[in-house]
Every structure is written in C-alpha cells, then in structure tokens.
C-alpha cells in the first residue's frame, strides 16, 4: 500500500525580512508558506540562520567550557566577531551589550556605539545588537548605536509591549530591523506588532522573539507559542507573520544540566559534551517549531546544527531551496 500525501495549502506565508544593509552582506529569512520543515508540501525560500553571541565585556558568568573556545576574544568584541565568522562560520552575530547594564559596568551609549562600530569594521555579516534589557538605559544605548550605525540594517533587540516607542522611532529613522520581544505569549506578540505598525514600523522589518525557555526549563511553552504564532501567520494573520528569532545559547547554558561538572553528577557524563547536547537539542526543537534565526554560544553546537540543516536544505548562496 502506498501512502498518498495530501499537501496542505495555507492562506498566508511568512514575511521576508532582510538583515543587514549598507556595508553588510545582507541575509534574508522567512517567506515560507507552510509549517516549519514541511518541505514536502511547502516552499521555503530561505533556510534558518545560525548566529553566535559575542559580548562587549568579559562575560564572567559564562560556563568555563564555552569560555575556553572564545579564549583571548572574551570582552574583545571585534576579535570575537572575526573568530565567530571566520573560524566558526556563523551566518551572523548577536552582539550582547551586557556591559552597558547599570550593574554590569554601566558602559556609556558612546562606548557601546564604538564597540558596534569596531565589530562592523571587523566583519561583513549582519548584526543583531542586544541592549541591557528593557528600560531607559537600553533605549539610550540602542538609540545611540542606531544613529551612529545608520543604514547598516542592524536588528535591534528588543522592543517590548511596555517600552517600544523609542526603538520603533530609531529603527524607522535610521533604517534598522526591530526585534519585538513577548513573554511566551501569542497575544502580546500580536499586540506588540500592532503597536509597532501603529508607530509606522514596517512589519517587513520586524522579527519576533517569543522568549525561549531552555530544554527542561519551559521549552515546551515556547514551542507551543511558536506553533500558534506560525499557525496564525499561515492562516493569514498579517500581525503575526514575522519570522522568529530565538536566543538559545543564553537559556541552554543557564540549565543546571549544562553547567554541573561530571565530578558532581557522575551519571550525567562529561559536562562540556553534555552542555553542547543541551544547546543543540533546544535549538533543534525550536527550529522545528519555526525559529528562523537561532543564536548560540558554542561553535560546536553551531557546527552540529549546521550539518543537520545542510542535510535538509540546499546550501546555495545565502538562502536555500529544499532538498
């Protein structure tokens, strides 16, 4: 007996969002008109992108086994950027301006802008620029970065429901992409996009960050919210059809299972290897749920995920058709 496939056709498709402009080599995500990876019934003009996270200051709380691979580049964003792209093969980078946080060094907006300028100088890939978390400081920092790096098509991370007006205004004014972050909540994701559209932000320049839980720490919530966002998008909801970005590294490496050394939990096995599994497993689940940009910390995770994606997608010029 042969199995007859009845391809499902949807009313809508994802928007296509292009990251990077100006001196960047731009990359586009989104555009798929079916459920994630349903390559047998839908078309996906672009493959998911893999980003590595780098930081402006030494991320002292990062786990040793991830710090090791970045040795010599921690807290040196330009160097880290070069390594991330040239050695580790990241499609793009997320620059986490953690050092601008008032409790983590309180670096000034000008210093942050200089850091981003140095990274832009060092590599040609698109950047996601992450501020220290919603609030006045983040607005100051990202507004300055946005202004100084006008026209580079940076993805500013992130606008929230309560605090989006400043970032919306600078994204519009200086030609950047805006990441809207919602707390694992489809309604807030939609509401935020309505607000952004109302603030004259072009939704073809918006990514949704649904907020990620690591494996074992609420991943399933994120998974089902992403699923719902995707279903709404495919049913034609123009306010939810932006591509999704997931900051996996941060969450996966927070998990106890990724941090505890084998000495303490002999049954859990070798920690560095276990941690990479954790990051990879979290990512794969989220890619299946529809993540279009996945941000990672460990280059080995990136390599493994890339291998899997390569087996699913043709590796043609920046984008992809499905095998």
């Amino acid at each position: 007996m042969s199995l007859e496939l009845k391809p499902k056709k949807w009313a809508g498709a994802l928007r296509q969002v292009t990251l990077g402009a100006g001196s960047r080599r731009p990359l586009t995500v989104g555009g798929g008109n079916g459920l994630p990876l349903h390559t047998f019934e839908a078309a996906f003009p672009h493959r998911p992108l893999l980003a590595l996270e780098i930081t402006d200051v030494d991320p002292v709380r990062w786990v040793e086994s991830v710090r090791e691979v970045w040795e010599g580049a921690l807290g040196r964003p330009a160097e880290a950027a070069r390594r991330g792209v040239e050695e580790f093969g990241a499609d793009l980078l997320l620059v986490n301006l953690m050092g601008t946080h008032p409790d983590r060094g309180n670096r000034s907006p000008e210093q942050a802008a200089a850091d981003i300028a140095a990274v832009l100088e060092a590599v040609r890939v698109p950047l996601i620029v992450k501020g220290p978390g919603a609030g006045q400081k983040q607005n100051q920092v990202l507004a300055r970065v946005a202004e100084n790096c006008g026209g580079e098509g940076l993805a500013l991370h992130s606008a929230t429901n309560e605090d989006y007006k400043t970032l919306a205004a600078v994204a519009v004014a200086y030609g950047h992409v805006l990441v809207g972050e919602s707390p694992i909540d489809v309604n807030i994701a939609k509401q935020l996009n309505i607000l952004l559209a109302d603030a004259n932000v072009d939704l073809n320049r918006v990514l949704i960050d649904p907020l990620t839980g690591g494996l074992g720490y609420g991943l399933e919530y994120t998974y089902s919210v992403m699923e719902r966002i995707r279903l709404a998008a495919l049913s034609g909801d123009g306010m939810l059809n932006c591509p999704l970005v997931c900051l996996v590294g941060e969450e996966a490496w927070k998990a106890k299972e990724a941090r505890v050394p084998a000495g303490k939990e002999p049954l859990w096995g070798n920690q560095p290897e276990r941690a990479i599994h954790w990051e990879v497993a979290t990512s794969m689940a989220l890619i299946e749920a529809g993540a279009e940009v996945v941000v990672l910390r460990h280059p080995e995770s990136l390599a493994r995920i890339r291998k899997q994606l390569d087996s699913w997608f043709d590796v043609t010029a920046g984008g992809a058709t499905c095998r």
Binding site: A168, A169, V186, N187, I188, N200, D202
Partner: protein, 729 residues
Amino acid sequence: MSKIIASAAIRGGHACVRRAETALAECVDRYGWDKDVGFPSTAYALPVILALTGKRVERLGDLEEALGTARSWLPAEPTERLWLPYLGGALDAGAATLVAQEAIEALKPLRGIPSAFDYWLGPTADGILREQGIKLVDGRMPGFAACVGALPDDETAEQLARDLQERNLLVFMGSNAGGETMAAQLNRRGVEMNWETFLVPYGPDTSSIVHALGFACRAAFTFGGLKPGGIKETREILLYNQRRVFAFVLALGEVDDEKYATAAGAINFGFPVIADTDIPEILPSGICTYEHVVANVAHRDMPARAVEVRGVKIHTVDIPIPVRHGPAFEGERVRKEEVAIEFGGKHTRCFEYLASRPMDQVQDELIRVVGPEIGDVPETARLPLAIFVEVAGRKMQPEFESILERHIHSFLSEPMGVMHLGQRDTVWLRISKKARDAGFRIGHLGTVLLHKLRNDFPAIVDKVQVTLFTQSADVEALYPAAAAAYQSRDERMGALTDERVEVFYSCALCQSYAPNHVCIITPERLGLCGAYNWLDGKAAYEINPHGGNLPVRKGDSVDPVLGQWKGINDFIRNASNGSFERFSAYSMINDPMTSCGCFECIACILPGTGGIMIVDREYSGQTPVGMTFSSLAEMTGGGQQTPGFIGIGTLYALSRKFISADGGLSRLVWTTTRIKQRLGDKLRQRCEELGRPGFYDKVADETVCTELEPLIEYLAAVEHPALEMGEMV
C-alpha cells in the same frame, strides 16, 4: 468657523504671501534664480514646504514655485458682501501662510537679516531634532507649546514658562505683542533659554514660529518614516502630527491678521490655539481632536487648559511623595505600635467615594485636606476620614466609577508605611510613624491617587481632584451621597442582565499557558479567575483596544436555555484556533466554557446525588468526589471542555444564570465553609429566592462530611431537592 477669524486669516495669508514674494524678488534681483537657499544643518530643505507641497526647495527658483503654489491656495479676500462660510478656505490660507513664512525665514540670511542673535536661536539643526524630536515621538516629552506673543509682565511670563516646564512640555517662543516678546521677558527674569532647559526662543517675528511646525514635520519624516510627495503624503504627515505630536499654540496678547493666519496653519496639523484674549472661539469641527480655538483663558490656567484641549496625556514617572512606593509594599501591615494616625477600622467612619464630573467641574491636581492634618493631632489619634475623589475625562463614563474606586485600595497600599484595607465604607487606614517622620501627610494620599489614576487610566481619566475630609461633621455630611452611590451602583449592576446587553467581552489573557482558552464574560457570569467582570472588560477595552479584552456581539440566539449565541460561537471558533465550535454560558454539561487554570473555584458533578459541589482553591482537604482541589484542577484546566467540570469565579454562584440550563443553584449539595463565608448573606438570599425553604442549611460542607456515602445519607436526611431532580447526565 467664525467669520472674523476666517476673514482675518485669509487677509493675513494674502499679506504674508505678498511679503514673501517681495522678499524673493529682492533676492532674485541680487543673486539670480540659481542661488542656494535653505536652513543650515538639515537634510530636509525647507521642511514645512517639503511637507505641504512635496517639493524640496534648494534654489531661489524652487522657492518661486512654492510661493506660486501657496498663492493658488489663497481664497479671495472676503469683503462685506462676499462671504463664504467655509472652514477650508481659512485652513488653506493658513497653509499658504506657513509656506510664505518659511520662505521669509529662509531668505533672511540672503537679505542680511540675522536669524539667531541675542537669545534668539533661529532654525533648529537636524542633530538637535534627532536628540529632542524623538522624545516627542516616544512620549518622554508629552508635547510642545508654541508661545506666540508676550505676557502682560515679566513675572507672569516666568510663571507660565515654569508651569509648562513642570509638565515636561517643550516650549517654543516666537513673535511679539506690540513689540514685546516672551523671550525678552524671560531674559529679564534671568531665565536660561536653550535646548537643555526646553525653552527655545525662535525669533521676534511671527514668521519665526514656523520653525516649530518645521520641527514637527521633520519629526514625522525622521521618526515616522513618512515621505514627502503628493496630497496623500501631505495628509499623512498632517495626520501623524495630529495623532502623535501633542502640540498647541498659546496666543499671548493681541492677535493680528498674521497671527490668525498662522493659527489657521497650525490647525491643519491638529494643533489647537489657546488664547488669553477675547477672540472668537472655534469649538469642535473635526481637525483637532477637541476644540480648535479656545479664548479668554487666564494665564495661570493656560497649561492645564491647553493640555486638556489637546488631549495631552501626562504620565508621572516619580510620584512626588516623601516615601518609597510600589507594588512591593502592597501587603505591608502597620502594626499598632507603629501607628502615627489611624482612620476607620472599628473606631471611626472612614470611606472612599469616587465620582465622575463634567470636565469643567474638576480642577485637575487640586488636593485639599479639610480638617486637621497629621501634625495637628496627637500621635496615635483616630480620625474620621472621607476620601473624596472627583474625576473627569472626555471618555469617562459613570459606569467606570466603581472600577476606578476599586483601585483605590491597591493605589493606597503602595506607599511604604501606609496600610489600607477594605473598600467603600469599610476602609481601615493607618499611616506609620516612620512615614510621618519622612514627611508623609494625609494630603499625600491625594497625591498618590491623582498620579496613579492619571497614569494607569489615561484613556478615561483626564483630570483628578481629591478632597480629604478629616472632620466628623464633613465626613458625615458627605456620607449619604456615598452610600447612595454604592447602592445605586449595586442596583445598576444587579439590573444588568445578559438579555439587556448586546455585547459580551472576551478575555484571552490566559492564552499564554492555555493556548486555546478564552473566557466569555457576560454581565451575569464573570471571568473564572474572579478578577474580571463585564464592566471591567468594557473598561479594559476602552483603555486599550489592542489588549486582551474585546467586545463580542451576541448576535442571534442559538439556544436561550444553554446560553448560546451565533456571534459568540463564531468568535469562539476563531479565538480558540478552531478547537471549539460552541460555548454554553449557562451549562456545565453541554458545551461548557473551557477553563484555563486560574479559576477561583471548581464546580463538578457528584454522581449519585443529582447535584454538584463547588470547591475553592484554598481548600486543601478531601472532597466527596474523592479528589483534592489540585487533582481536580488537573482534570478541569488546560483549556479543555470537560463536561461536568468547570472553573468558575466564586461570585458566579450567586448569579441567576448559575448553571441555569442544568437546574441552577438548587443542584448545589456540597461546598466549603470558606465559600459559604465569602458569599455570606448574599448566598442565603439567593437560596431563599429559589423558593425552597431551608435550602441554605441543606448544603453540606467539609464539617458535615468529605466523602460521598455519608453525603448521600445526609442529603436524604435533609431532603435536599437535588436528589429529586435526577442525574445531570
């Protein structure tokens, strides 16, 4: 539009365009058509002309074209006999005036006239626009005031400037009144004027005020991403300003033709005019949000009146009280030994009463303590207190009074060292010695209410006035009005039935963890968390139309007994992502509403009794169905329809529509003592209405039994009606 204003504006427009044409001709004579013209350090050429005509003016030749366009907008000057009562004409003249004024300003350097001198700053560079304009757009600055003319004296000028600064408004100054200027007045008072102090003097000519509009246009280009172009684009730029840039014009001193014409220009942007002189008023007619021209306003009242007319919403970031405050202090108790002063409880009368008033009957920010303050009485004194809050708002409705009033509790719990319990006339309030020593006064209760109400309910509250009565005679005098209001609200709420309204409200707040769940809130069935009733839904929608609560039209009735309507079912299908086709408002058996997880209580059927039980979240013991609340919750929650199990808000038990399709309250055979206490007399009353004498006492609770067998015996012994009603399924 007033004929006087229209005629003056049109005359002013003609005069301005003529002046610009003359100035242009003079410059062309001297430099030729190709000479560059423009403001320094801007990428937007002449921004007002760019916005209004879509054309970039870079050379004198371009300016000629722009003035030609302006001239074509000018209607004929009205004469005694020729009069077209046509608002559009005056507005067109206003637009033409702005074009002419910008031309005059741009030509100044070519004619050897300085733009920036003394304290006058002249046109604004893009750098400053980027720095400051964004504040207008993202709301850090609520708006700007364009002050045209001068005040009667220096002191009043300073007062007005300070009042505007205090509200965080950007102040632009330009023009003069009989040669006197506001900026000169401030200068004589030693007031610093620059972009840091938000006091920006453009120039002593009326034409200089066009820079304020240029600022607004550039904000729309930069931060609104709007592009100049044709009529459609111009309209969008004007609308953007109307919706987002909360600006207004203060006409100070005598208003001449050019000022009328400039004002008409500003009205195109939705910026209303507030005047201190007796000029004709233009009340609502469609371009500004509310009134267009309001006259005869005293200087002291100008900022407040302007803010009100423009619909500027002021958000206070730091509430000015001498103690820390925030939700973190909400549960805090002030113990007996710490009390500085106390109101209510068992000792004195203490109540809170919030009433809505027409806009002109509330003086915003007026806070009064009538009677002794905290320092006037000995420590640990017990005083009576009436907290009398009067609010006004363009969108305020009397129905919202009770919602706002209910928030007084959480607002007054927030300051550190203030304890607030109860509501309405059961309030018990204490202020601690520490708070008093830090400077907290009774009057600060009003400060907190003022700012919290305005911050949290900007859509419905524009003005707040608070009076705190601390003398027995006043408190008693006000009480009957408050008591009558409580009663009439309850009656109104009681009379509000599902049949009498056309819309119900949905609530999708819980979809984050129960993705297909949605509550339908009807007047007679509140949300299952107990936190949202129909009025709350209505107010929430008014406050934020993009939020989790939406109005849903009932539409045609599908089944009046089950409580199904076509409109609701259609909505449910969509909102539940296709998971459910139908909801019954009045049945727990047929198509019951889904339950997310935050229900106050669970109602479930008790096989063998013909009845149901209701168990509350706090009850940790065993129930006759053989499950604790938490195991029941697992079966009931998650956004599923589980016939026989529903999550409910406790108060739903009192509703006449409580599972009315399944037999109603008469089915209740067991509940917890906590629920009985909470519902108290109201439950007794409802039981009596059932027409079954002694019913209340037949409902068992955990003190009677916690298992099914003894319960059935008990029900038989007391002859509970459910036994005869037959099984529910």
